[in-house]
Subunit: 337 residues, 2 copies
Amino acid sequence: MGEFELIRRYFLRGASSPGAGGGSGADAADGGTGAGAVVLGIGDDCALLQPPEPGQLLAVSSDMLIEGRHFFAGTEPAAIGHKALAVNLSDLAAMGAQPLGFTLAIALPAIDENWLRGFCGGMFSLAARYRCPLVGGDTTRGPLAISITVMGQVPAAQALRRDRAQPGDEVWVSGPLGGASLAVEWRRQGITGSGPHESAARRLDWPEPRLELGQQLRGIARAAIDLSDGLAGDLRHVLAASSGALELCAELTAEDIPVDPCLAHLPATQALSQALSGGDDYELLFTALPQDHQAIRALCPTARMIGRIRVGSGILLTGRDGKTAPVEATGFDHFSG
Amino acid sequence: MGEFELIRRYFLRGASSPGAGGGSGADAADGGTGAGAVVLGIGDDCALLQPPEPGQLLAVSSDMLIEGRHFFAGTEPAAIGHKALAVNLSDLAAMGAQPLGFTLAIALPAIDENWLRGFCGGMFSLAARYRCPLVGGDTTRGPLAISITVMGQVPAAQALRRDRAQPGDEVWVSGPLGGASLAVEWRRQGITGSGPHESAARRLDWPEPRLELGQQLRGIARAAIDLSDGLAGDLRHVLAASSGALELCAELTAEDIPVDPCLAHLPATQALSQALSGGDDYELLFTALPQDHQAIRALCPTARMIGRIRVGSGILLTGRDGKTAPVEATGFDHFSG
């Protein structure tokens, strides 16, 4: 099987193909994946998309996943396909954007049809749920590398930027933390099991992009970011981006940080540390005015208010004992490890 | 140096950074690279771009370059940076689109500052010439892989698609062919030199995307594609895409095919074969009505009319001896070799 047959057999599914006849055929080309914006899909030099609606901006993000770094060799291919798209959709979620489509550039060591079937199944299933069609890309031979670029639209004035936190804002996370990084530890040690092990593995392999929530937070959240590097690291990104003439800090309350239930077997301090520093959970971290507290609780039952933005420096954590100390944990860095 | 310092030191140059203050700061953030469309550049979850102008479509293309497959190990890093962007811009050229910006996802085996300086120099120099700013991306550790997604805009009715060739169209190429693939052969054999060797190496390492020509051909070319896989292979893509109820063929005249001067030392038949089947030249192949012949010659002095589209099958070549024979050569396929 050659490159073109590979594309035809695996990647045209869930994508709209050319020849549908200009803009008029776009609806017909929509295979349930939301290809309404796609005028010309896979098969030409470029894809052609209807631009964002008037008053909206084009939101764009690229993430690359490498075997052995972003996922373990031997990970279920459907999970790899899901996660490669999910981490990109999570970036759209963190801007409050709605997906328009994505491109996939993939290097494969060889053509393994079972692997491709699984990978495409996971990827296209997520794409269909969020109406985000594959519009183009590139396939080549090489060490397994998956690079996705996702495009979306967001009303110009309502994009959720990370540089808009202000003193007095409440700090929120959209769901439980620490599960994905615990799964990494367990997998490194070869530990498997049911219950919390399955639950943690699901957090790591099948992250759910918080797209609906991101869009619901337009006009409510002041600053937002998705939790890929870990709560402490990503919160530092928000503080650094939002600090101007005034340097900002975050005061967090330990007992309010939502620790993933699969960490229940750990001593409380260790579980909290994992929730603070562990990456890959893909929940949203956002700040908002206190007056929007109830609205946010109503929007997102799993969201927890974990602290406040103040003038100051760093991240301060108040424990159950009432003592406050700076958080030293940093986020994940691909070149420091 | 960590991931964030690496991004700050190398990739913020030639890119517009966030914090420029909504749309109003976009001009100030334009470092000579045409960031006028960029509302929010590198540093947030997504880049935010002004959408294409009214009546225009968004054109998107992704290409991935792998060391040892798309470029030789040891290639000058500036050339790698140039080519990684050039092959993507060439896809915009082949649609008649004007660049808006690009994302870069790159896996690096290690941080080599000399390499990064060269790579970014080559990439950003080309980006500045075509006013195509870097708007976002991803850096990670892994076997060297470079994945670029480029975005552009093109008037909806004037996009140069590959599926619009019709019987009677003249077939054109925008410049000399065969040089890049000859450079690949010479490099494999370790042959270096001045004159034709330098000229061929330049074709391979520093391809020039035909962006102005692509935009000038709006409303003139009927079908277009960029020559990445080779003339015969890419012409076959045009014929396949354009064939409907009528199957189309191309009748080419051997003496009209512009053979790169660096092939002058080869026997005529071998040089012609290289021009027909060698890839990586990144000239444009397009078809147009005979009535536009003079207009095209005036637009592009290096363009050559090489044949005609007819009803039929395959590619037929008429040699200097007046004999006509089918062309068997196919284009490059990453998984067939």
